[in-house]
């Protein structure tokens, strides 16, 4: 049984180290916060100007002046600080954030990432994604291995406009985990989701990767 969304999020949570400052993208990456292991203390950054994101508020606590980058109402913690968008992206661009976990439409074998635009179809914008992949120390992509048509999303080369060039360090899909020791090196399959076979991964992956289970 391949990982479902929570399974992928739980696997991604194992990449969190004690003391990390982490930025979680919108969608599945947000679920990672629910799977932080005991004894690991992390601080979540929200690029709209907050360090130390707390849980969703109760009805009584809802505050329109307090939202995350997904525009969801949230709460603060005892460690929380607020700052401007310029300071926020100073943290991001300046390499002060340890880890970012993002969704993707496509990842290429050289680490290229596309997750913001489908030409002619969608006009939404890149938000902070390009800044995050350019500045954060380690980039993990959480995505379904294939698209709705069953085609690989882990490709030889991205077909969609890029968010960043050669920026991805780890790909966690419903089928397994691909990691590379350093940018510029090839990805290695280091872990399979339960009951997933090497053959299934090979059949559903266009990108070149090494096997290092």
């Amino acid at each position: 049984m391949a990982w479902n969304r929570d399974g992928m999020a739980a696997r991604a949570a194992k990449e969190l180290k004690d003391g990390f400052y982490v930025n979680l993208g919108i969608g599945i990456p947000t679920l990672v916060a629910n799977h932080v292991e005991p004894g690991i203390d992390i601080t979540l950054q929200s690029e709209n100007g907050m360090l130390g994101i707390g849980p969703f508020p109760t009805e009584d606590e809802v505050d329109p002046d307090l939202i995350n980058a997904g525009k969801q109402t949230i709460t603060e913690l005892r460690r929380t600080s607020y700052f401007s968008s310029a300071d926020s992206f100073g943290m991001i661009r300046g390499g002060h954030i340890d880890l970012s976990i993002l969704g993707a439409m496509e990842v290429a074998e050289n680490g290229d990432l596309a997750n913001w635009m489908i030409p002619g179809k969608m006009v939404k914008g890149m938000g902070g994604a390009m800044d995050l992949v350019a500045g954060v120390k380690r980039i993990i992509v959480l995505m379904d291995h294939t698209n709705k048509a069953g085609e690989s999303k882990f490709l030889k080369a991205c077909t969609l406009p890029l968010t960043g060039q050669g920026v991805v360090d780890v790909v966690i899909s419903d089928l397994g985990v691909f990691e590379r020791p350093a940018k510029g090196q090839p990805f290695r399959l280091i872990e399979l989701a339960p009951d997933v076979t090497l053959e299934e991964v090979a059949a559903k992956t266009e990108a070149h990767y090494e096997v290092a289970l």
Partner: protein
């Protein structure tokens, strides 16, 4: 001291507006947007606006109000996904759009207000954003040149102000407001509360009054929430 206090949004904008002008507007999503000033700008009928704002509001609130009336000719933004009318006008060619990565947008505004005409950043290298921009290597890494942004008028929203225009923002409603306050030839601030001189601890001022030329207390704040997410009380 020059008087910075005005009665309302209409009087605070008087004499500042003209067709084809560039306006910066603070806010992230609908959080920390200058609600009163956006409404007054709509009612003024000023057209052909270039609008610099991280987002474009929703169809019936925030900057969506100015899109509905076709007052905006061009948007400079990072994310406009919550506005269907925006998407329609863009795809039909009625509206020009310049997408900036959010951090690049924030830094362009900060730079503009600080008298810095350009800066190099890694963000966007190898993407559509880098096309046509100067590339330069520093320490073996490639960066692109981005330019500073300024506006004819900046409209911002703060929580508290004193009569000198010193501003304090609240929680994540701060976002783009402080940089935009620095980057307007004229900056107009609307606030929830006006306090007396000396009532804000000088160490707690987020935006010094030098950046704010006009100021008023806003009315009827709706503070609409885009994604109301709650948990059960224990």
């Amino acid at each position: 001291m020059a008087n910075k206090l005005y009665d309302d949004a209409v009087s605070a904008l008087e004499g500042l507006l003209f067709d084809g002008m560039t306006v910066m507007s603070g806010g992230f999503g609908l959080c920390g947007i200058p609600e009163n000033l956006i409404t007054a700008l709509r009612d003024s009928g000023t057209k052909g606006l270039t609008f610099i704002s991280n987002n474009a509001g929703v169809d019936d609130f925030g900057l969506g109000l100015l899109l509905k009336t076709h007052q905006v000719a061009k948007m400079i933004s990072s994310y406009v996904g919550e506005n269907k009318e925006f998407e329609r006008q863009y795809l039909s060619g009625e509206l020009q759009l310049e997408f900036n990565p959010q951090g690049t947008l924030a830094e362009r505004i900060r730079a503009g207000g600080a008298g810095i005409p350009g800066f190099y950043t890694k963000t966007g290298v190898g993407t559509l954003v880098a096309e046509g921009k100067e590339h330069k290597e520093f320490g073996g890494e490639t960066y692109i040149l981005e330019t500073g942004l300024v506006a004819d008028v900046s409209i911002v929203k703060a929580w508290k102000a004193d009569p000198y225009g010193n501003l304090v923002f609240r929680k994540t409603a701060r976002n783009f407001n402080p940089m935009m306050a620095t980057a307007g030839k004229v900056t107009v601030a609307e606030v929830e509360e006006l306090v007396g001189p000396g009532e804000i601890d000088p160490d707690h001022i987020h935006t010094p009054g030098i950046f704010v030329q006009r100021l008023f207390v806003g009315k009827n704040y709706e503070k609409r929430i885009e994604q109301r997410t709650v948990r059960q009380a224990a």
